[in-house]
């Protein structure tokens, strides 16, 4: 596949049993581009993001992320991708700092980056709190810190505005204003980003709507 595209899908299919959640998706994101992925519930937005995050294997078709073909080069792609899913993907029984230290170890990131990441999302003073004790908005910010801890070139965000508090919106806006990163945002609130001029792709029944 073309290495000039940061994200590329050709006839991507992902099945769960007999049901095709993705049924021939064609999508390409240029390096540094931000795209809004919209569509009704069950259209396949989350499944597409999970395939691109290498959490799910494609059933058929060609996929490449950050120039790495999936699933063959998934491990290399993972180091270049940041993924914030529906759930914050942090351990409630670990402190905020401990969660990021764990992910820093998994991504091979310098432990010193943890303090910077927490400060960036406004959680430096809550670093010692258990993640389970944080508010939903704070958890979302911690999730953003986790997803960007390793400075990924490709960022995948699934409903990033859900339950985000005012400070979280500022954090998200600052994050999305950073240049050079390719970002795919699955959202039910495309109007929230209406003034950005980003391309919008709509999924319907597992396909890109014409």
């Amino acid at each position: 596949m073309s290495s000039s595209e940061a994200v590329a899908c050709r006839r991507l299919v992902r099945r769960f049993g007999e049901r095709a959640a993705l049924d021939g998706v064609d999508l390409a994101l240029a390096p540094g581009e931000t795209v809004l992925l919209t569509g009704p519930n069950g259209a396949g937005k989350t499944t597409l993001l999970r395939v691109l995050a290498t959490v799910l294997r494609p059933s058929a078709g060609d996929v490449s992320v950050a120039g790495h073909d999936l699933p063959r080069e998934a491990r290399r792609a993972r180091a270049a991708v940041g993924y914030a899913g529906h759930d914050p993907l942090v351990y409630p029984g670990l402190r905020a700092r401990e969660n990021l230290e764990l992910y820093a170890a998994l991504y091979g990131v310098d432990p010193g980056a943890v303090g910077t990441a927490l400060a960036r999302v406004g959680l430096a003073d809550r670093a010692g709190d258990l993640a389970g004790d944080l508010s939903r908005g704070m958890l979302q910010r911690l999730a953003l810190a986790r997803a960007t801890l390793h400075a990924p070139g490709v960022l995948l965000l699934d409903e990033p505005t859900a339950a985000l508090d005012a400070e979280g919106r500022q954090v998200l806006d600052a994050l999305l204003a950073e240049r050079g990163r390719t970002t795919l945002i699955a959202t039910h609130e495309p109007e929230r980003f209406a003034d950005r001029g980003w391309r919008r792709v709509e999924l319907r029944a597992g396909r890109v709507a014409a």
Partner: protein, 227 residues
């Protein structure tokens, strides 16, 4: 294997257990309750089969206790839907399996430190001390095998719907050879039996068992947890 990631994953499991106290207390209560039930239900060495039957109780309780631990294996990842976080990271899946194996091993050893003295008091006659060196080695090798197998089964069961049914069905048949050899080995350490050449052979079998399931876990875990 990524050593830093492995250590971070083990630390995570141990910290979560120390704070949550979900697995080890449950395993300890289970094994002690099993000993008491067997003791008063069947008798100690006075029951038919004598020492061998008593040792059988020890190993059966050990296997079922290990199963209880593996049922809680990856519980946080399943209940808090954290698998995506681990799977999206570039850590090799063998590190995840190895870290879980070490955690389960630590939990089992912690429980046995408490349970073994109770077993001796309840089941063995006074003055019948075993060969501690052989017994400890047998327990460590058996625990390692059960932990390696248990981590693999826990990974498989964590993504399945009927995990409470699936885990025992997968775990117990593979634990049978381990129990057979461990019972023979342990019985041989308690007088009037004497440890002979069979001891080395049986310890070798346990080592081989550990090696086989370590290799299987190492090689297969990626396919077990990735959809």
């Amino acid at each position: 294997m990524n050593g830093r990631a492995f250590r971070a994953l083990v630390r995570k499991d141990l910290v979560l257990e120390v704070r949550g106290r979900e697995v080890v207390p449950a395993m300890a209560v289970f094994v002690l309750a099993a000993f008491v039930l067997f003791r008063f239900g069947l008798g100690g060495e006075t029951l038919a089969g004598g020492t061998r039957a008593a040792v059988g109780v020890l190993w059966i309780a050990t296997v079922f206790t290990a199963m209880l631990g593996l049922l809680r294996g990856f519980a946080a990842e399943r209940e808090d839907r954290l698998w995506d976080g681990l799977l999206a990271s570039p850590v090799d899946r063998a590190s995840i399996w190895a870290a879980r194996t070490v955690s389960l091993l630590v939990f089992q050893i912690a429980v046995q430190v408490l349970a073994l003295p109770v077993f001796w008091v309840l089941f063995l006659q006074q003055g019948r001390t075993p060969s501690y060196g052989v017994l400890v080695l047998a327990l460590l090798l058996a625990d390692l095998g059960m932990a390696a197998l248990g981590a693999l089964v826990a990974g498989l069961a964590s993504t399945a719907r009927a995990r409470e049914v699936l885990a025992p069905v997968l775990f117990l048949p593979f634990a049978i050879p381990l129990v057979i050899v461990a019972v023979s080995l342990t019985t041989g350490t308690i007088p009037p039996q004497t440890a002979g050449s069979h001891t080395v052979t049986r310890l070798g079998f346990l080592g081989l068992y550990d090696t086989v399931f370590a290799l299987l876990g190492w090689a297969l875990f990626e396919y077990v947890v990735e959809e």
